[in-house]
């Protein structure tokens, strides 16, 4: 027993070290960006900033937090994420439920049509023309509706629903429940882990996407945070004349970029722990005895 325990402990130690190393590798870029956002221009340009701030300054955050466009785009991003995820989850649940019912006629055909969209799509210009004809350009809907259902997530959820024993739905029907009640009271609560995962997928997608906003939105008041962020980064890189930022200022464009990046990932990091809670929950245990 003792020998086993010793090798066990060595194994644990090796695991611990390896995992810690991997964790550090993942953590390093965050620390680097964070310390850049807090460092002085001279220190960044001279390459002296690694994982802790050199020449501490807070001006980058000050400037960022004074910019009204930052708050506005932050607000747009939150509206987009919340509203978009709500639309996504509603539609995906309804569709996945219908398609998971074996007695639905034409189920195979509909599934094939959905899979078709995963492989082929209209391309950028036809999609743009479609949105234009639907008068969706320059509205928040152009960011929400084209991605209302993700075929991949739909198939995931449909398969998850199919693993829920038919007999559960049957027993509910015996008690007089219709499809709405079955979906709401049985399927959704029973598949919370899947729901949480999909919600997270959709939310992260909405939070991170910028390309559709760049193409479909002209009104600067409707541009989400990622576009703001991209403008901060791209503009200093290439678009403006080199003479346009003064070498004399204390804030480096680098720290402003880093500050904007940090500010944009904080909300996602804050949401993660709450959602993660659901990943480990096993609700299905003991629901059916066969």
């Amino acid at each position: 027993m003792r020998y086993a325990a010793l090798s066990d402990r060595i194994g644990h130690a090796v695991n611990l070290v390896l995992l810690a190393l991997m964790g550090l590798v993942a953590l390093f870029p965050f620390l680097h960006v964070l310390s850049q956002s807090l460092s002085s221009h001279a220190a960044i340009v001279s390459g002296r900033v690694t994982v802790y701030p050199v020449g501490l300054q807070l001006e980058a955050y000050q400037q960022l937090l004074q910019d009204r466009a930052f708050y506005r785009s932050f607000g747009v991003a939150i509206v987009r994420t919340v509203l978009g995820t709500a639309i996504n989850m509603t539609l995906t649940c309804l569709m996945a439920y219908s398609l998971s019912r074996k007695h639905l006629k034409g189920r195979g055909l509909i599934m094939n049509m959905i899979i078709f969209t995963m492989i082929f799509n209209g391309g950028m210009i036809p999609t743009f023309l479609l949105l234009k004809q639907l008068h969706l350009l320059d509205t928040i809907w152009s960011l929400l509706l084209p991605s209302a259902v993700s075929a991949f997530n739909l198939i995931l959820l449909k398969n998850f629903f199919q693993t829920i024993p038919e007999s559960l739905a049957e027993s509910a029907r015996i008690d007089g429940a219709g499809h709405g009640v079955i979906l709401r009271r049985l399927f959704v609560p029973l598949s919370l882990p899947a729901m949480a995962t999909l919600t997270l997928f959709y939310a992260v997608m909405h939070w991170n996407t910028y390309f559709d906003a760049v193409m479909y939105i002209n009104n600067p008041k409707l541009l989400p945070l990622q576009v703001y962020l991209r403008n901060v980064i791209v503009l200093n890189d290439s678009n403006m004349n080199v003479t346009d930022f003064s070498g004399a200022t204390l804030i480096s464009p680098e720290s402003l970029k880093a500050a904007a990046i940090i500010a944009s990932i904080v909300p996602m990091i804050a949401v993660y722990p709450f959602v993660q809670h659901y990943f480990v929950k096993g609700v299905m245990l003991g629901a059916v005895k066969e």
Partner: protein, 508 residues
């Protein structure tokens, strides 16, 4: 049976409700879009690259400069503010053209010449020759050879716009304090340059007792250390005139000499041996943190990496010097193009005269100054202050209202010396620009990409980059240059040379 029906209905209802969402979202948008003033001024819709930030209550169409511009020119300019990134901007422009929502005026980065040619061919772009004659200021703002770049089939299809620093590119900079410390003179010839570089590397010019300084530094973009090639009169990727026609510098015997020389620098460890894997930021870092004392950098470097170097080490004294003179008496850095972007007018535009009038107005140096130094209440004591007869920009407002420079579509040919001075007299930017232009070796081919260039040039550029890198680091012998010339010609180079020769003959 009944349940199946319900399921189908449910799916159908889904589709319907999604569509209903669409139409309800659309109504709002249409109302806001058609707002335009009804005072009879010609309206011009422009689509420009975006990205700037605006003070509270302002946007690209509502700000003091736009008001001034509209009043002065009598043109109701309406700007659609596009993406900040060049590729995304071009994507969106293509979408707008395809969807029939076509701006009258748009400004494309100079890298999109072949896009311009394609669209000129399709008839999407307005042909301008003949129309420009009445606009003397506009014509005067463009270098004659720059028109070549926007010429398709004998017609002019755009207005080339100069960069802020005219056609200035790089200068060679050296640490005067290091030279003095090691009792060396300012190097003039290529051999003196390599002696100085060797001394900088080996004789501890920063006096910290460690062998941590570098000789000559370079990075993966060969144009950024073009002075070494310029000493042989050849710039990678450029065209030179020889025997009455144009030939690519890449395959000239002088290029072989240049590579042999640079390889020797590498072998002697005078050239930083990390260069093929060094990026621009890391290159500038070596200057900023006092590791390098001799390098080629942008004319604006005195306000960026050199400025940081001075902040890190107050003793650092940088001077700009003439590029090295090679064995054949040649010297120079890569010359900049005579334009950085192209103003294009759609063939659907109705108010061509209004557009040209607007551009003509902007091409006057005094009108440019209204954008640089402001005007009225946004001028003196706001954007700048006068001190001892010279003008100093107020950087807080200069940066806050940085967007105003995006409204300046044109750039007069006369260098804005006053602005360069106002950015900080200690930087001597005007001298930096003039020095760079003085030693710039221009690309002798100024036309738009020829058909086989569009097809093959990027593959040839890649081949050049790989071969030259390998020769310099000694992975290939210098004699491999001859094989490179053969395969350059075989892989489309011959055809390109023929097309360029035709272009040159026609131009003469």
């Amino acid at each position: 049976m009944k349940r199946t029906l319900i399921s189908i209905l449910l799916t159908a209802a889904l589709a319907v409700s999604a569509l209903a969402g669409c139409s309800s979202g659309g109504g709002k948008e249409e109302n806001g879009k058609n707002a335009s003033p009804a005072d009879g001024r010609p309206t011009v819709k422009a689509f420009i690259m975006g990205g700037a930030t605006f003070p509270d209550g302002e946007d690209i169409n509502h700000n003091p400069w736009m008001t001034m511009l509209r009043e002065e020119t009598g043109v109701d300019l309406q700007i659609q503010y596009g993406p900040a990134d060049a590729d995304e901007y071009m994507n969106k422009l293509n979408l707008m053209l395809a969807s029939g929502d076509i701006p009258d005026l748009f400004i494309i980065p100079s890298a999109n010449q072949s896009w311009l040619m394609d669209n000129a061919k399709l008839g999407a772009v307005m042909r301008l020759d003949g129309k420009l004659d009445r606009y003397a200021n506009l014509k005067n703002a463009v270098y004659p050879e720059a028109w070549d770049a926007v010429t398709y089939d004998g017609g002019i299809y755009g207005v080339p716009v100069l960069a802020d620093g005219n056609s200035a590119t790089d200068n060679v900079y050296i640490r005067k304090d290091w030279l003095d410390k090691l009792k060396l003179d300012v190097p003039k010839t290529l051999d003196e340059f390599s002696k100085v570089a060797k001394a900088f590397k080996e004789q501890d010019p920063d006096g910290n007792g460690k062998a941590d300084t570098l000789g000559l530094i370079a990075y993966d973009n060969m144009l950024a250390w073009s002075s070494l090639f310029g000493a042989f009169g050849v710039i990678p990727g450029y065209w030179v005139e020889k025997n009455g026609t144009l030939v690519p510098a890449d395959i000239q015997p002088e290029m072989k000499d240049a590579l042999a020389y640079i390889h020797q620098l590498f072998a002697d460890k005078v050239l930083d041996n990390e260069w093929p894997i060094t990026k621009k930021a890391a290159y500038e870092e070596k200057v900023a943190n006092g590791k390098a004392g001799l390098y080629e950098g942008s004319w604006a470097a005195v306000r960026s990496e050199i400025q940081t170097s001075r902040q890190n080490d107050p003793k650092a004294e940088w001077i700009a010097i003439a590029p090295p003179v090679g064995p054949g008496g040649k010297q120079g850095v890569f010359g900049g193009p005579k334009y950085k972007s192209i103003i294009v007018i759609s063939s659907q535009a109705h108010n061509v005269d209004a557009i040209l009038k607007l551009l003509d107005w902007q091409a006057v140096p005094e009108n440019r100054d209204k954008f640089v130094f402001g005007f009225g209440q946004y001028g003196e004591n706001f954007m700048y202050t006068k001190k001892n007869g010279s003008i100093e920009l107020n950087f807080e407002n200069h940066n806050k209202y940085g967007y105003r420079q995006q409204l300046m579509f044109m750039q007069p040919k006369e260098l804005n010396e006053q602005k360069m001075e106002a950015l900080g007299p200690q930087f001597k930017l005007n001298d930096m620009i003039k020095l760079s232009i003085q030693y710039g070796i221009p690309n002798a081919f100024t036309g738009a990409p020829t058909p086989s260039m569009v097809e093959n040039q990027s593959a040839l550029d890649k081949l050049r980059q790989e071969t030259f890198t390998k020769i310099i680091i000694g992975e290939l012998p210098v004699s491999a240059f001859d094989d490179f010339v053969a395969s350059y010609k075989a892989k489309g180079g011959d055809q390109i040379m023929k097309e360029v020769a035709d272009w040159y003959a026609q131009k003469k």
